[in-house]
Symmetry: C2
Subunit: 439 residues, 2 copies
């Protein structure tokens, strides 16, 4: 079903003048909901998405689009991953973007030495700290981790560029181990530490509690990275900001390992509700659709039908009771204003759940003059046909126009009077008998 089947509604809402009731909780004195930053990892985490193969040209196109949108950082695949990864990293560093360019490496001097030569503004270092990763990935203990972290951090700092140290699989790591290593790297002066929910197991209150604890231990900024295996990546990111995190890792459409991470667009939906002025002034929200289309095409996926903001029905209202209120004031059933994203809202009135307010609005659009009682009558006819089969806009318009002709043509009106059951005689594609068959 295309949007042309729907009726667009005119914006009539007035802007609220009072303080935002959905804004940061005043109890969260550490909250960065109004001052967060974005690290886009489409060209790192996103390259780990099953379908991703970005050539240099595509990487540059994506990096430029993200920069134009206004992300604060762009994170790139490790230059050690392959020779092409290294040269692409250098090429993007030379673009002169406003966004700072980062590359993401293992906690190894071998990797660090290559990374600092690429021209990046900063290096994101990661090492697994959970017992799973310590046993099955790198096989090192916390002392070894601390030792290599210090060596790599001091080396990167000596080159005058930013350095982040992140644990991997933070939510399955021992809390004391975690706090210990973060305290150590904070003391030697990292720009930020990272928390990573690498397997997507974290829930919002766990995230909040870990953030609050961590903020009592480190003075640097905290960056968060959430996988979406259990569908909580947006909520976890928001709750992390409430708890004092400053930076969130995102990817366009959330692409990454498995089903991905916090999506850029979805997080914008969340954040514009909480911090509308900050979000609208900092990011070019009307570019979200284009960026998502660019990346979706590059990795050969469709925009999910239920995507926040850009899903085909994200601003479509259907039930009669919803349509009525939306027509009176869009804020009734909308927390997001489609206009903020360069999009439009639709009332889906061609179905059996429709109501007479939605039909009245359509009658007005058709520039027909009918009384409320007449509109209620024609709505009954429309709902009856909608019970039999899916309707489109032309069906509804036909019924309305036929009915209008009847009630406004004295002769025809006289002829039709007293045989209201003729409603089923309108021209439909499927036989009316289907109704009795399925009843």
């Amino acid at each position: 079903m295309s949007n042309s089947d729907f009726q667009q509604v005119t914006e009539t809402a007035t802007k609220p003048t009072q303080a935002n009731p959905y804004g940061p909780n005043p109890a969260d004195y550490l909250s960065n909901v109004n001052s967060f930053q974005l690290i886009d990892s489409t060209l790192r985490e996103g390259e780990q998405f099953a379908n991703a193969f970005f050539d240099t040209e595509k990487k540059i196109e994506i990096a430029k689009a993200l920069d134009d949108f206004g992300v604060d950082y762009i994170e790139l695949t490790s230059p050690v991953a392959s020779e092409q990864s290294r040269s692409d990293c250098e090429a993007i560093c030379k673009l002169g973007l406003k966004a700072k360019i980062l590359t993401h490496i293992r906690c190894h001097m071998d990797d660090a030495k290559v990374a600092v030569e690429t021209g990046v503004d900063g290096v994101d270092v990661v090492i697994g700290t959970s017992k799973f990763l310590r046993q099955y990935s790198h096989g090192k203990d916390m002392n070894y981790i601390a030792k290599s972290a210090i060596e790599v951090i001091e080396f990167v700092k000596s080159k005058g560029i930013e350095i982040r140290f992140s644990s991997e699989d933070s939510f399955r790591s021992d809390l004391v181990d975690l706090l210990n290593i973060y305290k150590t790297v904070d003391k030697i002066g990292v720009n930020r530490v990272g928390i990573a929910d690498t397997v997507g197991c974290a829930n919002p209150r766990q995230v909040y509690e870990l953030m609050r604890t961590l903020k009592t231990v480190v003075s640097c900024d905290v960056e968060c990275h959430f996988h979406n295996d259990t569908g909580c990546a947006i909520a976890n990111a928001y709750t992390a900001l409430e708890g004092g995190a400053k930076l969130i890792d995102v990817a366009v459409l959330g692409i990454g390992e498995r089903n991905g991470i916090t999506p850029l667009g979805g997080l914008m939906a969340r954040m514009i509700v909480a911090a509308p002025e900050y979000v609208k002034s900092k990011y070019k929200l009307h570019k979200i659709r284009d960026i998502e289309n660019l990346v979706a095409e590059a990795v050969e996926v469709n925009i999910p039908f239920n995507n926040p903001i850009t899903g085909f029905c994200a601003f479509t209202h259907k039930a009669g009771i919803h349509a009525k209120a939306i027509l009176a004031n869009p804020s009734t059933y909308e927390i997001l204003n489609p206009h903020d994203f360069g999009l439009k809202r639709y009332i889906h009135f061609a179905n059996r759940l429709t109501g007479w307010n939605a039909i009245k609005s359509r009658v007005d659009q058709l520039n027909l003059c009918m009384t409320d009682d007449q509109i209620k009558d024609v709505t009954i006819k429309i709902k009856k046909l909608g019970d039999i089969r899916p309707l489109n806009i032309d069906d509804v318009d036909s019924i309305i126009k036929d009915f209008h002709t009847e009630v406004t043509t004295p002769l025809l009106k006289g002829l039709k009077d007293g045989k209201d059951e003729d409603v089923n005689a309108i021209d439909i594609e499927e036989p009316v008998s289907k109704k009795s068959k399925t009843a």
Copy 2:
């Protein structure tokens, strides 16, 4: 890209014997994470999805599938919505399903009188309580709402069936108004009260706080309904259960008004992590894929590429560092076990981010015998080709087999020695010069 391009991995993880560290927070003494119930609303909220048109046959097919899966309740469109809605409701009530059948009506005696005659096990009553809905939808004040609620509740109770009273747009309603009306309806004996985030504005900590407060006011069960406009519907549902909610409204794929509500499959992903024994014993998780396909086909949408559990890459691992650890122990990078859902995991090894452990696993699968050093050498060749263009499994197998032939054939080995640069001479579809063009 189809899953046939990926390499399936054998399950080797052992079951944890200790208490679940991702389970309910012991501080949540009201938590229902281990005892929640599901109200599936695919045939009510889902019917309000833009693309939904379910005929009687399809409704019955969906209801039976949900019943087989194990949902506790199935909610149907109001019998007042249309004549067909009423007769479909009656037909589903007559199926004799294990799940209780509910219908969802406005807080009107007119609607209630029709609903109780359909044969349903319970009636879900809803009325808007936010200032938006009171002003632009029904235009009634809180006293009127209480009065009609009492009338409808007492009428439905007199018929001996279950009754739920829900506010609409609860998170934009006045807290005192809300608690007042819930306390009133609890006293006259509703089976449960409902909280509805009708516009999708709520965040997890708000949900938790409202639940905790509400549980001090009412003694009945609490049901929650979360829209997904800002991507938090799964996390909000989980956090509501932590705070004492008992029942969650879901729809298959989350279909509903706009971009929908908490999805059945996504919530299962969340809940199996927190309450594995409860979820696995109560619900037929291996049916999720079939139910999602059934509904997706009926409403003409695709399963989103990033859907929890059933997204095409939800259990696909790509980066070398991930693949290595997954091969050693799947729990390293997986919180969900694909086998619990009748699915399989894949290692995506045919790409430039691959590592030698993933290739070693493929070499073993091909039943070839190579030393670790040889595998590392062939991995370098594979990554070089992966830099130039997307790879498929046949590309990688060719490279491995060619290399294996070289190193195991003394004559060929002698001929090839000293000209390692020949790696680029393997048969590829695109000219090698593309590499220098994009470098």
